[in-house]
Structures are given as structure tokens and as C-alpha cells.
Amino acid sequence: MASGASPSSSATRSDPHKDTTTSQAEKRAPGSKEVAAVIDSLKKKLAADRCISIKKRIDENKKNLRGVTQSFMRSCVERGGGSSYKDGSDLLVKMQRDSPGTKSGSDADKSNNHSSFLEDGNNVSSTSTAVQGSSVPVKISFRPIKMPDVKRLSPYTTWVFLDRNQRMTEDQSVVGRRRIYYDQTGGEALICSDSEEEAIDEEDEKRGFVEPEDFIIRMTLDQLGLSDSVLEELANFLSRNSSEIKARYEVLMKEKEVSESGDNQAASSLLNKDMDGALDSFDNLFCRRCLVFDCRLHGCSQDLIFPAEKPAPWTPPVDENLTCGANCYKTLLKSNRIPVNGTIEDKTGTSSNGAGTKTTSKFSGKLNRKKSKTFPSESASSNEKCTPETSDSENGVQQDTNPEKVSSSSKVKASGGRGGRKRNNNRVAERVSRRTQKRQKKSEASDTDSIATGSRSASDVKLKDNEDATSSSQKHVKSGSSKNSRKNDTPVEDSKNSVKSDDPVSQLNAVASEPCSDGSLRKDEFVGENVCPGGLSEDKSWKPLEKSLFQKGVEIFGMNSCMIARNLLCGLKSCWEVFQYMTCSENKASFFGCDALNPDGSSKFDINGNMTNNQVRRRSRFLRRRGKVRRLKYTWKSAAYHSIRKKSTDKKDQPCRQFNPCNCKTACGKECTCLLNGTCCEKYCGCPKSCKNRFRGCHCAKSQCRSRQCPCFAADRECDPDVCRNCWVIGGDGTLGVPSQRGDNYECRNMKLLLKQQQRVLLGISDVSGWGAFLKNSVSKHEYLGEYTGELISHKEADKRGKIYDRENSSFLFNLNDQFVLDAYRKGDKLKFANHSPEPNCYAKVIMVAGDHRVGIFAKERILAGEELFYDYRYEPDRAPAWARKPEASGSKKDENVTPSVGRPKKVA
């Protein structure tokens, strides 16, 4: 409510009161009579004020109106004079002039050009005279001019086109709303709502405080003081509860203070906001399933599912000579001629030795240099983040020799609960490590098995390797010793505890300002000289938001300062600044790593420890071994397939279950929501890919997923290129090429809904009833025609709406699953006009497409171009309207039949 205006306006009103009432306020617990009197006087005052304000506004309006009507009058006169009045060519003018000024209707007849007075049926045939005030009304009749018949359109309601289903918005609901239905003929009123209270309840909730109420509350409490009896009396008067009023009064007082003290809350700068706040709206508005903001299908404020496995950051194709601008670090580095080469050479050797497959080593020295920077900093960033966590555990000393142990300890920390930040950190850390894995994957031979389990071993190797590289570069020890990736199996003793950061919140700063042990300090200085002199001071000028943006950048782009500066810190920091910051923090962090680690082991464990869940890791490690045997996946697939088919056959007659992604961190167990709900886990679930409840997709090739041989097809699902191994299509005009290793040239034919490969449907007048849907081009049997889209509404809502639709005898409801009904009445597509027929040429099928149930309409037989589409609505026999009942020979009469139907018919697939 206009809070800004209320204090000032009411202040003027209340001035006379104030002086007298300050003394009253001291009086304790005034009697209810007194309170009533005060309220009453205030009320009267308000009413008078209101009266005056209304008068003023109406007067003002009146003034405006005078001008308006005058201008209208002018244009009317213009219209009258402007046209050809004089020559009498205007028929109406002539008629008007000729019509005599008598009261008799017979004279009126003369004025028109019709000689006969034939009637068109209903009217009385003779004309009569008008007698003023007589009991017999004048009957005027003469032959009317015929308006040629124009065929009316079949009735329809304006609807909104939807190319995909949409969840019902709140304002569309008819539940709890009074709906009055007037019969077309009788005018009988039918109120479609459960009870009156329901509607009223809703109104109640919406009531906020309006200005006059505020005024009364404030004035009364100012006058009489804050006491229970006064509050009660007020509550009575305003029909609210007293606690509400008390709260409101406090709010009002606060507002008053603020307005008196002036605006001391300066608008906070954008940069002072923090990342969590910004991400909050992202988390709430961005749909992780559709990858769009404000998704209409899944709605906002979805449960946040954080996958146990994270994708790798995007790495652009890098042209080393290309700089991102004047401030690009590459340019500046070159000009500074920083002597780092010696180190790099060493390191290059290391990394290439270690991984064996690393591509960087094959490139020029420059590239090597860049790469070498990238890797340490990666580990650095992850180290930075893990620092506060490890310090939380108060065991600072990372004496661990066993990877499992370390990771489990850090898990404890993670679960120790660091509030909102924890999530963020985890997210960052996970991605970092994941990214490293992915990169490794990429650099491996192209025929690498795409199964994650297969690549995991390699990535772990890589991870360690990176650490090796880091440590070696920083320590200037010969890194050859650390190249062996298997070394982590051997227990390594920790030389020094470097994790000292006490402050878990200020991650980077903490790291930067931390007092370091001698050894590490030395290194720090050394590296500082090398790469970023003055980096420490630079660090301070970074605002929290910039820091978190930087972290995000690392997640997204890796250690690519050009990309980070351009995309995330544009206008805030230059590439060079980002680079410096990156290098500094990385140095600081990396010697942590170095110290905590003996050449290779524990640094990696730090990263692992930072992962949200060590169980996932362990699990994947286990799988890694399995993954090597590639044929294993066939068994996996078929195992899942059987269980799925069982589900679908077991519950043939039951509606399908709505899928909601589970948030399992590990392979789903008994408590998994998907499992409990009876659905498969999908790619949107948090659980790792190895989850046994996951639908495994198919491995069809030649069959093109067109028959029940395909596990996806058999389970009434569309293939998903993210899940199925061999399902692919040629994109667009084929210029993107065909994935080579998938070969065979058999595209998947079970992705039509996903790819929106529908047929052109035309809307026209049906041969049987009302509107119908027609096909533009001929199609063969089992071809996908299009989707039946609509609003997703609850069954309760559908029951309500169905009552109204039954009255109109035109229903667009379609049972989708146990949770939702599709309603195409207001929103949908043209296929909603396809009529019912007991001998249809199409059929509808509920299909699971990327986690959502959708209705596809398919050809039951070969359909020629221009044919009307029919499908069997499959109403439940007892609920079907008369036209949809089986024995009826005439087939579908959707709109004409007026027999009221019992219950609520809904189409079923």
C-alpha cells in the first residue's frame, strides 16, 4: 500500500489531534467506550475526507468531460455538414425529411419505398396508429430489406497456441472460484463451486492494509497507547486479529522513523551484492530441464538437483596468437618478457611423461607455457576452496596417506554445515575437478569409450598428473619423480601442514594474507617474482562479487583469463588483472598443495576431499574397473530394460507416474524418491549414471528404434541421445555432419516429439461435427503426426473444469498421468480439434520424452493428404458422452449432441 504517501497525508489530518492526545497516551488501559469513541471520531473524519476527495475528483473529471463532449459535438456537426446534404443523395437524410411529423405509424410507411406491407412471419401484418398513452402499442411493420444469409462458423473459444505443454498458472484455476453458469435457453443459474466459504477464504488471504486502516491504527494507538484492550477493540473494528494490528503498527512506526530520519540507506552499489543473491534468482527461475528461464512447463522454484557428476567446462578452440584486447595478458606477458621458460620446459616434460597422451606437449613452447599455467592454477583454485573446509576440521595437518581417509574426513567437514556457502563451494569444487577429468578425456584418443566409468581411471591419473606438474613447477624440483601416476597408491607422508586458514568465508583473501611457513613463503616470493609481482596488493582491490564471478569463470572457462575477463568481468577487470589475480591466488594455493602433498598424492586428495561426496568417488573407482570391459553395458541395458518393461506391462491400465528428479547423491537406494514413486531415474536426477534405477536407453542400430525390440519404444519412451548409445539424427540440412564412429547410417526414428518433427495439420470444418483437423500431406502407417498440447492441470482442477465443459458438451481434457490432466480448452494446438471416431485413423499415445509425459498422435493407417484425422478418445464407458459410446453408428458428433453426460469424460491414450 502506498506507504510513502500515507504518513504525510495522514499527518496533516492528524495535526489537531496530536496535541490533545499526547497526554491521553499516558493514561493506562483506556476503557472500551473511550476506544470506541476515538475510533468513531476517526472514522467520521475519514469518511468526511473521503467524501471531499471524491467530490474533488468527480468535479475534475466533469471539467475534462465538458471539453470532450464539445469536441465530439464539433465533429458530429462536421460530419453532418460535410457530406452532400443539399443534393439529397443521402438516402437516410431524404427519408428522414420525408417522414412526416405525425404520430401515426401509417405515415411512416409512406416514407419508405415499399408498396406492400407483407410480413416476414412474426410481425403483425397491419399497421396501426399510435395513440399517445393508449393501451394499444403502435405496431410498425413494413417489408424489411433482406440480408443474404452468411454461414456461421462453428462455435469455438479463442485459444492460445502452445507448441509444448504448459503448467497451469494460478490465475487460470477455477478451483475455489465461484463460477456461475447460465443455461443457454432457460437462464437457469448453476453455481460451480464447492461452497461459498471456499471462495470467501481466498478473498480473505489477499487482504492487505490500506491507507485508511493504517491511519486509524496509528492514530488510535498514538492517542490511547498500546494496550491489549485497544488492540482488541481495533481488531474488532477492522475485523482482523489484534496481533496483526500490533505488527502493522510496528511497521508503521518504523516507516515513520525512516521517513523522519531521511533516506540514510543509500542505494547499495551493484558490486556490493554477492554472488549467492544473484544466483538465487537463477536457481529459482532457470529450468535445469529445459535450459530456459521462466519455464512454463516445470515452473519456477523447482527443487534444485545437483548432479553427482558434473560436466566439464567449455574450452574454446584456442589460437595462441590471438589476444583478447589491449589488456590481454598474452600481450603484456610478451612485453614483460618474464623469464619463466626454464620452468616450463621442465614441466612440459613432466606432464607429457606423466599422462603420455597429453596433447600440449606436441605443440609449441608457447602453448606449453600456457598450458603449464593452466594446470597449476586449476589445482590452485580447487585448493583455495578446499582450504577453509579443511581448516574447519581443525585437524589442519594433512598427514593422511590414504586417499579414502582424506576424502572421508573432508566429507565430514562438508556435512558439518557451513550454511549457504557450502553449497556454493561444493559446486565450484566439483566442477573444477570434473573439468579436469573431462579435459583429460578429450585429449585421449578419439575412440575413447564414452562411458564415464571407462574414462574415469584416466582422469584420475590426469588429476594427479596435474598436481605433479604444479608442484614441480613451483618447487623447481625435478618432476620426473612425480610423473608416475600410480604413486598415489603408495603411502606418502606429509611433510608439512600448510593449511592454516582460520576463516572459512573469505577464501581467497584468507589464503592471500595468511602467514606462511618459511618454506612456502620462499616459494611464494619466488613465484611472485616470476609471474605477478605485486599480486598481493592487487588482490585487495577485488570485491567479493568480482571474486565470486572469477570463481564462476574458472568453473565455466577453466583458467582462461581472456574468456573470464570478457564474459564475466567485462568492464570490471581487464584480462591482465584477471590473469594476475589468477596467478597470484594459484601460487598461494598451490604451495598449500605442495606442502600438503608429497609430490603427487595429497594434493589430489584435497581435490577429492572437496568433492561433496566421497562415496561417489569410491563408487566410480569401482566402476572404473568394470568399465574397462565394454561389453558389460549390454547386460546393464538389458537388465534395466526388463524391469522397465515389467513396469509398463504390470500397470497397463493404470495411468503412468509423473517423474520428478530425485536428489540422491549416490546410487539410488530405498529412500530414492524416484524409486518410491515408481519411476525410473532420468538424466535429470542427482544420482550418478551408474544408478541402478536409471533407464539405460537403447542400443539399437539398424532397427532404428521403431518396434518393441527397442527398449525405449517398448517402454513408451522416446530415445534420448544423451542416454541411448546409438541414437542420432542428421541435424538440419546435414551440414553438421554425421557422427563418424556411430556409423551405419541408421538414424533413430524414435525422437520425433523431441525434435518436433510433426506433420502439417490444417484446421477446417469437420465432415462430422464442428471443427476438425486435417492432414496436409500423406503419411504412412505409424507415422508421428503431432503432439496434443495443453495446460497441465491437476485432477482436482480437471474435475472442476470438466463440470463446466460437460455443460458445453465440448471437452478437451486428456488424462496424462497420475498427477496431471492435459486441458487444451484455452491453450493447445490444432490437434485438439481432431474428432472422436470409433473407427479412427489415428491413435494417441502417452510417451515419456526427456522426463516429461507428452501425448503424441500417430497414424493408425496410411492417411492421404487432406483427410480428416480421428482418434478414439477412449472415454471410460460409463462416463462417455452419448456421441462417444461404442454402439452408436453415427460416430462422433462432438458438438451437436446435447445429451448431458454424466461424470467427467477425459480422453485417455
Binding site: R79, G105, D120, D149
Partner: protein
């Protein structure tokens, strides 16, 4: 139904007539047996201020109101289809200021009659169900808006027969639209109301180029790029039941629901955030015995008084200039017992016509003292 909060009370008119003016029945016409749903004076052309048109059954009839209480019929049109039942009629103008009459009814086809040539100028097809009201833009009388049972409001150019805009969809009405009215000065703005109990204010400012394009369109009207406007600038819920008539009164809106009163209220729009706003009910004009839907009121050219019939055949004349509201007079006649669907006031307010469901037209003239 709606709870009135303290300090936002509206001024309620008293039903005691002031009898500032009084009217008497001067004529009565039986047009036919079919109910008459609309009667409208011509307010567009000063030559035809005395001419009015009625709609009922499949008929559209033009009459001339003569000085001494007489009424003469000028023209009559009948739809060949007996099924047609016209619900509404409105005057319009061609580009040469030639008078048109636009009528619509149960079939949903809008008939545009060129009364100077006594023939159909256009038949506008497009509405998916019956048309409940047609109103003409007073500043550009080639434009008409139509309210339909198909939950949409359409803007037409009667000269070229083009459907320019459709106001419906996600933010549109949720049930039959019963009434529409153009804002008197802001040419882009109009209000619509209907069975979903809301009153919506729409703007077509962003689509004005299409309106201009409709004048020069020579191709097939069905090829015109008709646009959908899905969101109104404001939705008001001042009523809790069907709203069957709304009219602008300057920047205020007069609206009638089926709970026996007309409200005068001010829509307060927030300029920066479209779709939001508040409504402030200023005055209430009680109209007893009018709790059936499809009863429409009318005011005179100068907006000084308002006339509305009720289901007992009585007419209430309210003074629109006074604050608080003053009932000018209550018109009743012992033979007028039938539902008055619509009234029409002449330009100066001296004549009131009432169209009744039994097919009669009553003429009341002011008594000059």
C-alpha cells in the same frame, strides 16, 4: 459481497427521486414478438441525432424520433436466416462520413449495413460465438470493437471489413465478454467486461500501425496480418458477479454487475508496470430489481444523466453530475412490466427510449414546465 474497507467507502445514491426532471410516455411501438436487445441513438452525425436503431430477432430497424412524440420507421433489415438473433447494434461511419449500422448477434457475424444504399456493406466473419456488444470509436468511427462469447474482443475496420486485432489469450477474459467501450479521449484505450466478473482495460498503442494499415488494405481481408493482444494493461475486480455493461465516464468507469447497482470507479494504473494497478470505487447507483444479466444502461451525449431499465419495466434516471449521486426520477408505467434490456437517451437527454423483451419500444419525453 466485496468487503468495504474503512475509509474507502463509496458514496451511495439514495433512491428517493429528486424529481428535478420528469418524463412521460409519449409513444409505444410493438416491433414484433421477438425480444429487443438493443436500442441506440446516433451520436456520430448531427443530421441523424433523432434517428435510432433497434436490434432484436433477425431484424435491424431504423426509426426517426419526431418532435411531438411520434416515431416513424425509416428502414428495416432482416437476416434471411431465421436463427439469427441480433443482440447488439451500433452506429458507425464510412470514410466519407456516410452512416453505417453494425449489428451482431447469436451467429457471431457482424453485419455492416450501408444505410444510404440500403444494403449490406460487409459481413464480418471471425468470431467463434455470439457477439454481445459492438461499440464504435467516436474519434475514428470506422473502427468498431466487438465483445463475444468466444472470450475475445476484436477490433474491426468496417470500411474495409478487416479484423485488425484480437484481444484474447493468456491475459484475456475467461468467460463470455459482455460489454466493451472505447475511452473517450485516449484513442488506443478501451475497457471490456464479462462473465468472468473482471473489467479489463486494454491498450492498442503498440499495434496502431496495423490500424492504419487496415485503411489502405486492398487484398483479401482474410490475408490481413491480424495480431493477438494477449495482455490487458489492467484487470479490475470491482464486481463479484457477471459484469454486463461498462462505459467510460471521463477517466472513470461506470460498470454494472448483476447485483443491483452501477458502480462509478477510478482505475489507477501504474504507468511503469503494466498489468498492475488498483481500483477505487467512488460512487454507487442502486438499481433495484436488475439482477439478471444483459441489462445495459445508457447516457446522453453530454454525460449529464444515465438511464437504466430493470426487469420490472421501470427506468431509473440518475444524475451523473452530482456528488453524492442523485436519482433524478424513476419512470414507471402500469403497462410496462417487461424486462428492459437497453435504454437510449437522446443527445440532450430529453427523450429516453426503452427496448423491452416483449418487443416493444417505449418512448419517454421530458415534461417541460
Amino acid at each position: 459481497m466485496s468487503r468495504i474497507t474503512v475509509g474507502n467507502e463509496s458514496l451511495v445514491g439514495s433512491l428517493t427521486p429528486s424529481n428535478k426532471k420528469s418524463y412521460k410516455v409519449t409513444n409505444r411501438i410493438q416491433e414484433g414478438k421477438k425480444p429487443l436487445y438493443a436500442v441506440v441513438f446516433n451520436f456520430l452525425d448531427s443530421r441523424f441525432f433523432n434517428v435510432f436503431v433497434t436490434a432484436g430477432g433477425n431484424r435491424i430497424t431504423l426509426y426517426n424520433c419526431l418532435e411531438d412524440g411520434a416515431i416513424s420507421a425509416l428502414q428495416s433489415y432482416a437476416d434471411e436466416d431465421k436463427e439469427e438473433s441480433f443482440y447488439t447494434v451500433s452506429w458507425a461511419c464510412g470514410v466519407k462520413n456516410n452512416p453505417f449500422v453494425a449489428a451482431g448477434g447469436v451467429k457471431g457475424i457482424i453485419r455492416v449495413i450501408d444505410v444510404n444504399n440500403e444494403k449490406i456493406h460487409k459481413s464480418l466473419v471471425g468470431h467463434g460465438d455470439s457477439v454481445n456488444e459492438i461499440r464504435t470509436q467516436p474519434l475514428k468511427p470506422q473502427l468498431v470493437i466487438t465483445a463475444s462469447k468466444d472470450e475475445s474482443v476484436r477490433l474491426w475496420n468496417v470500411e474495409t471489413g478487416i479484423c485488425i486485432l484480437i484481444f484474447a489469450g493468456a491475459g484475456g477474459h475467461r468467460y463470455e465478454v459482455l460489454s466493451v467501450d472505447f475511452h473517450p479521449t485516449e484513442i488506443f484505450r478501451f475497457a471490456s467486461c464479462g462473465m468472468d466478473t473482471t473489467i479489463k482495460i486494454w491498450s492498442m498503442k503498440e499495434f496502431w500501425t496495423y490500424v492504419e494499415k487496415s485503411y489502405t488494405w486492398t487484398d483479401d481481408p482474410s490475408k490481413f496480418p491480424t495480431k493477438f493482444v494477449q495482455f490487458p494493461v489492467f484487470t479490475a475486480s470491482v464486481h463479484t458477479n457477471y459484469v454486463d455493461c461498462n462505459r467510460w465516464f471521463g477517466d472513470f468507469i461506470l460498470s454494472k454487475s448483476v447485483d443491483n447497482e452501477i458502480l462509478l470507479w477510478e482505475p489507477q494504473l501504474k504507468e511503469n508496470s503494466p498489468g498492475e494497478g488498483t481500483s477505487d470505487v467512488l460512487q454507487r447507483y442502486p438499481v433495484p430489481m436488475s439482477d439478471i444479466w444483459f441489462i445495459k444502461f445508457s447516457y446522453d451525449f453530454h454525460l449529464s444523466s444515465l438511464a437504466i431499465g430493470n426487469q420490472e419495466g421501470k427506468i431509473f434516471v440518475w444524475d451523473l453530475k452530482s456528488c453524492p449521486p442523485v436519482l433524478v426520477t424513476k419512470l414507471s408505467h402500469n403497462q410496462s412490466k417487461c424486462v428492459i434490456r437497453q435504454t437510449a437517451m437522446s443527445v440532450d437527454g430529453s427523450t429516453i427510449l426503452a427496448a423491452c423483451e416483449d418487443g416493444t419500444i417505449w418512448r419517454w419525453d421530458v415534461i417541460t414546465k
